[in-house]
């Protein structure tokens, strides 16, 4: 019975948290938002100085080892500052897909440059993709940081290919995206030639599992910061001669945030741990974590706006960054309803 972070895990958490708090400031994030949604200097120092980019990828496959628990710790810290980084698309989905399902040659060719931040990959999923040999035709919107990518990992329900972003037949169109810290692009392939990953099934499964966990962990970070900043405001803002945090209606709303956040924390680390340990519960856990934590982030970010009053509605305040990120976390890689439907199938013994 040791369902708490080890000392080493706590240290990773503290290091990552300090890194993001110090560097991923509101000002820098806003500068990145005005560009392509990536704070390049932050990404470089995250990958090279902090050296955590290879987390969650086994050493023998080109990463720095450790597991999804550690990956979740880092994603939670990144989420807590809504850092403008391509971590999800480039590392958690693409690099992991290559690491777990690629050949040795594919790993050699791409992992070093991705994990060092020299290159950025985007993850493109199109269930209706057609492949004639390795010539791919299809289209996917909602490709996170797609316009900044050098490399695309293109997946259908069964196949996975590496496609160079500047290959013939590839068109990438940037989209104005509500969450400017992670802008989407539309990627259209017209007979673009891809290099198939050796074991597509493993690649996709590993990427999606890590993606669900990382999104859930990010959501946890978003929710916790929304709470922390609202708590600080509640203590300093005075109305009717009292700190607004002394009003029961306000307190109860904060308390409800805490109740959800504590459950989200259990969800994230249960899911990460279950995947790492190969537990029977892993499939259930990742769907539970993704749906529950994203809903928690959305509710907390929404409450953050409400409980800040007028200032919370302004562009100047950071609340909207958390709110928009939370909305994106809810819908990306499957809505909450879709994830809960997967759980229902398992519960009712209908799983495919």
């Amino acid at each position: 019975m040791e369902f708490v972070l080890t000392e080493e895990q706590q240290m990773i958490g503290e290091t990552a948290k300090a890194f993001f708090v110090e560097n991923a400031t509101s000002e820098r994030t806003r500068n990145a938002m005005a560009a392509d949604g990536i704070d390049r200097d932050l990404w470089t120092s995250f990958c090279t100085e902090l050296g955590l980019a290879g987390i969650g990828i086994p050493e023998e496959r080109g990463g720095i080892g450790l597991g999804l628990v550690e990956l979740a710790i880092v994603a939670e810290a990144a989420g807590s500052t809504v850092a403008a980084l391509p971590m999800l698309g480039s590392i958690v989905l693409s690099a992991r897909a290559i690491a777990m399902g690629g050949s040795a040659a594919q790993r050699d060719a791409h992992l070093t440059t991705l994990l060092s931040g020299e290159q950025i990959a985007a993850y493109v999923h199109d269930a209706a993709l057609t492949a004639h040999g390795n010539a791919l035709t299809g289209s996917a919107g909602f490709v996170a940081h797609g316009a900044a990518a050098d490399l695309l990992i293109v997946t259908s329900n069964s196949g996975a290919w590496i496609v160079s972003a500047d290959a013939p037949g590839v068109t990438v169109t940037v989209q104005t995206t509500m969450d400017q810290t992670r802008p989407y692009a539309r990627v259209t392939l017209s007979g673009a030639v891809g290099e198939p990953l050796e074991d597509a099934t493993t690649a996709i499964a590993a990427a999606h599992q890590a993606g669900y966990v990382a999104i859930a962990a990010e959501a946890l970070g978003v929710a916790q910061t929304a709470l922390d900043r609202t708590v600080a405001y509640a203590k300093e803002r005075v109305q009717f001669g009292r700190a607004i945090g002394s009003f029961q209606a306000y307190k109860h709303r904060l308390a409800d945030m805490v109740v959800d956040i504590e459950q989200a924390r259990s969800a994230v680390y249960w899911a990460a741990c279950a995947v790492d340990e190969g537990s029977d519960e892993a499939a259930l856990a990742v769907h539970a974590a993704k749906s529950f934590a994203a809903d928690t982030a959305f509710r907390c970010a929404g409450d953050m706006i409400q409980l800040h009053g007028g200032i919370g509605f302004t562009w100047e305040h950071d609340a909207h960054l958390y709110f928009k990120r939370a909305r994106a976390l809810q819908s990306m890689m499957g809505s909450g309803n879709w994830h809960r439907e997967q759980i229902a199938k398992m519960m009712l013994g209908e799983a495919a």
């Binding site: 019975m1 708490v4 306000y250 259930l284 519960m347 009712l348």
Partner: protein, 393 residues
């Protein structure tokens, strides 16, 4: 960070399960699956004694008092297997989980000698006299009076919601022993024998037709001068210490009971086609998720070794399970439809799921209402300014 238990702990789990399942398949078959607190009380007292005879009665207690010095993990495992085997709740849960630990923590050597063996053996059943008509969530408003007279405490007043008082042997009572004192000051914690002319017990019929709790009236009820725990005026401190014992390992056992209830709902939904309704499916998934998150929240809480920190998992657990279970009751009824609102026969006694629906309205009230829990989370957990209190000067 690890999810499960060690191989040695799993071995212990198997030992617990073997013994409990054996009992429920054999000598105590007749009480298996009882979920209300009052059914077959006499038979369940015998079960308490059977547990004691095999030293399973209070395994977390020290060996000298009839326990096994069990580790926290072992206590969790036993509680889980106990519920999984369909064993009814402990008739003496107040004695085992509250009175005993309170005596171990605050009692004198003589008091331990006097009470602990009986509690451990399932011979001395305890109930708890805290709440009063005017002191529910606001426990510091206790008015029941105690005064020393000729070497005895003489108690007058009324308690309410005294669960299982009608089958108990002893009651511990928070009394106001300092004339004119207000709030948490001037309270004293007394242990009183129930079977005496000064104590009258009246059952209170509750929402589901059962009557597990009571009004308890004290009219010059008496106990010897040395019946207090701690010192005169320590009542508040002792009562708060005792309430802390309520948040313990029993949480994980309780979840096994919840698991059984959810499984019954799943079976009902499959049987009557409700499982095809997309909205019901969403709610089933939410219920399953909530149950798992309770489990891992409890494991986080119990794994936490630094008890000096205010732990979010511990602070939120009560409101979490109570709210979850109330929703579960509503889900059960939506799955059953109108069939859940009737049964053939004339008694007002309900099967597990309709009873869950009715009974779970209490979960968000007793042991600190959801509103009180939110205040605690905001004030103790987040450091929000306290709600202004009424005049207690």
């Amino acid at each position: 960070m690890k999810l499960g238990f060690s191989p040695a702990e799993e071995e212990f789990r198997a030992e617990c399960a073997d013994w409990l399942n054996g009992q429920m398949a054999g000598e105590f078959k007749d009480i298996k699956g009882i979920t209300t607190l009052t059914a077959k009380a006499e038979r369940r007292k015998e079960w308490e004694q059977q547990l004691a005879a095999h030293r399973w009665s209070c395994i977390g207690w020290p060996e000298e008092w009839g326990g096994r010095n069990a580790t926290l993990a072992q206590q969790v495992i036993f509680a889980e297997e106990y519920a999984r085997a369909g064993v009814p709740g402990r008739v003496n849960h107040i004695g085992i989980e509250l009175a005993g630990p309170t005596l171990l923590a605050f009692g004198s050597e003589e008091q331990k000698q006097r009470f602990l063996p009986g509690i451990a053996a399932g011979q001395t059943i305890f109930c708890q006299g805290f709440s009063e008509p005017g002191a529910g969530s606001d426990l510091a408003s206790v008015r029941t009076k105690g005064r020393l007279e000729n070497g005895e405490w003489v108690v007058n007043g009324q308690k309410i919601w005294t669960s299982l008082a009608h089958i108990s042997d002893w009651i511990f009572v928070v009394t106001r022993t300092e004339e004119g004192s207000k709030g948490p000051k001037g309270l004293t914690f007394l242990m009183m024998e129930i079977d005496q002319p000064g104590i009258e017990i009246r059952g209170i019929k509750q929402i589901n037709g059962d009557a597990e709790f009571n009004e308890t009236f004290f009219t010059d009820a008496r106990c010897p001068a040395d019946s207090l725990i701690g010192a005169v005026g320590d009542g508040w401190k002792i009562a708060m210490g005792l309430l802390a014992f309520e948040r313990g390992v029993s949480t994980l056992g309780q979840q096994m009971g919840f698991r059984n209830e959810l499984d019954e709902i799943i079976a009902a939904a499959k049987a009557n086609g409700a499982a095809n309704d997309p909205l019901i499916r969403q709610r089933l998934a939410k219920a399953e998720t909530g149950l798992k998150l309770m489990r891992y929240g409890a494991l986080r809480m119990l794994s936490q070794t630094d008890h000096s920190k205010i732990d979010g998992a511990a602070l939120t657990y009560k409101i979490q399970w109570a709210s979850w279970r109330r929703s579960l009751g509503e889900l059960a009824m939506d799955v059953l439809g109108q069939a859940g609102e009737v049964h053939d026969g004339s008694d007002y006694e309900w099967d597990t799921l309709p009873n869950l629906f009715l009974y779970s309205r209490a979960d968000t009230i007793y042991g600190g209402t959801n509103q009180i829990q939110r205040n605690l989370i905001a004030e103790r957990g987040l450091g929000m300014p306290r709600e202004p209190r009424g005049d207690v000067a």
